[in-house]
Symmetry: C2
Subunit: 327 residues, 2 copies
Amino acid sequence: MNAPPLPVGSADIDAAAAVLAPFAVRTPLLSPPVLSERVGARVFLKPEVLQRTGSFKFRGAFNKLSSIPTSARAGGVVAFSSGNHAQGVAAAAQILNMPATIVMPADAPLSKRERTKGYGAEVVLYDRDREDREAIARGIAGKRGATLVPPYDDPMVIAGQGTVGREIVEDMIALGVEPDIVIVPVSGGGLVAGVATAVKARFPKAMVMSAEPEGFDDHARSLRAGKRQSHEAKGRTICDALMALTPGEITFTINSRLLTKGVTAADADVAAAVAFAFRELKLVVEPGGAVGLAALLAGQIEARGRNVVVVLSGGNVDADLYARLIA
Amino acid sequence: MNAPPLPVGSADIDAAAAVLAPFAVRTPLLSPPVLSERVGARVFLKPEVLQRTGSFKFRGAFNKLSSIPTSARAGGVVAFSSGNHAQGVAAAAQILNMPATIVMPADAPLSKRERTKGYGAEVVLYDRDREDREAIARGIAGKRGATLVPPYDDPMVIAGQGTVGREIVEDMIALGVEPDIVIVPVSGGGLVAGVATAVKARFPKAMVMSAEPEGFDDHARSLRAGKRQSHEAKGRTICDALMALTPGEITFTINSRLLTKGVTAADADVAAAVAFAFRELKLVVEPGGAVGLAALLAGQIEARGRNVVVVLSGGNVDADLYARLIA
C-alpha cells in the first residue's frame, strides 16, 4: 500500500531554487571545529542568519510572491508575522515591485518592526492578547484586493523554505558526508517540512527533528500523538519567533510523515547557545534561531559520533536583549 | 631590469595551503546584498572571524609551527601578542602537541587572555607602557629552548596568512569575477602581505589596500613615503589588535611593492561598522577586524561600481565592549 503523495515534492523545491537563484543568498554550510569538538560529533551549521533579511523567511516569501499572477500583483500582498516572515515578505515585495502590508504584534522586537518598514512595507500593529491577527490581515486583503501570504501553511512557501534543505543536500554530497541527524527550529513547521522533503528524498535514513522552546512544544507533542496538538505554554519565551500554538495543517501532513521526533530547549539553554554562537562561532543568532543548537549543546540529542546538521534559522535580535544574552 | 624576488611567493602559499588543509577552516566568500546595495558596489567579504580561534592568525601560526623540525619541537614555542596571534599560536601548538608560552599585555581583552589559556598555553602578562614584550619573549625562548613565533615578520607566517588570499582568488575565479579592490586590516602587515602576494599573482591589476585605525597609520605613511615610518598616535584605539608602531621589515619589503595605498578609519566609524555587521550581516567582528569595512562604509574608498573584497580579520571581542558598540 502506497501512502498518498505529499503536498510538496522535490520537484517543487527544485522549481523554487530556480526562482530564488538570482535573489536569495546561497548560504554556506559551515563546520566549526570548536563545535564538533564540544559535541563529540561532526557538526554542520546552515547559517540562514546570512540570508537576505537575516532569516530563511525570504525564501518562502519570494517563492510565494513570484507565483502570484501578474494580473493580481497590483493589489499587493498582506501578511501577519511577529517579525521574520514580515521582513521576508516585505523584502520580496520590494524586489518584485508590489505594495506590502504587514500585521505585526505590538510587542514584536523593535528591530524587526523597523527593518520591515525599511523594506518599504506598511506596518499595522495589533495586540497579541486581544486581537486576531489573521482576521485583521484578511480584512485588509479583502479591502485592497491584496494576496494573503501565509507564514507557513502554503505549498509555495514550504517549497521556498525547502531550498534550505536542497542546499544542505548539495553541500553534503560535495563533502561526501551522509547526514545522520538534521535539527531545525520550528514554529508553524514550514521550514522543517521543506527541509525534510529535500533531505529525505536524497538521504532517506537521515533523522529530521523539530526543535522548539520548552513549553511551546506543539510539534513534539503532535509527532508523539500522531495528530495536531496545541502546546500549553501560558507565558512567553525568549524565542519570540517560535510561538505558534499548533502545527500547520499542510506542514503537519508532511512533518508527521517525515520527521523522527521533536526536541526542546529551555530558555536558559537557548540563551547559552546564543552566547556560544557569539563567543565561539562569531555568528549573531536570535533566540528562536538558536533553539536547535541549544538542544544539541544541552545534550538533548544523541549526537556523539554522528554527522549532525543544525539550521540556524534567523539572526534578528534587538541589541539590548542580545547584550543581556551574551553578558 | 627585473626587481629582486620577494621573500614570499605563490609557491610558498600553495605549500602552506597543503599544510593547513586538514586543520584550518576553509572560510567562505560571502556577498551580502545589503552591503553591496549600501555601498553601490559588488562587495565580497572574507570572514576570517569564522576561522579556528576566531581570527586569521591560526593560519600563519600553524604553518610556522609545522615548519619547526621535530628535534626542536620539545622545547615548545613562545610568542608575544595582544590576543589573536596568541590564540593562533596556542591552538596550533595544542594540535601539534607542543608546549606554548604567550607573553600578553596586561590590558589585553579578557576574552583573548582566557581563550589563549583555553588552548592550553601558559600566559605571561607584561605592562604595555613599561616593559619590552619582545625582550621578555626572547628571555623565555633562551631559557627553555623554545622557538620564538613572530607575529608577522616571518616568511612562514606570511605564507600561512597568504592562504586567505589564495582562497579569495579561488572563489573569485569560480564566480567569474575579477576583484578591483581588496581591503585588508593591518597591524604589522603579515596578513596583507600574504593576501597581496596571492591576489596580485592571479589578478595583477587588483588594488590591494591596507586599512588601519586613524592615527595608527604607519602603513599608510610608509606606503606614501616609500620607506618604513612609525605612526604618531599617543593614545589608544578600540582596534586593540592593530597597534603595531611600524610595518615589519619583511612585510614592508612585500607591501611596498604590491600595495596601492593605505586607508584609515576613525574609531567612531569602526564602531559603526561593528554595529552594521551585527545588525545587517549577522557576523561578530572585533573592532580591529572591522577597520576595512569601516573605511568602505565611511566612504574612504572609491568603490562605486567596482568589485570590492573586504577581509574581516577577527571576531574576538569582549561581551561588554561589544554591547556598547552595538547599542
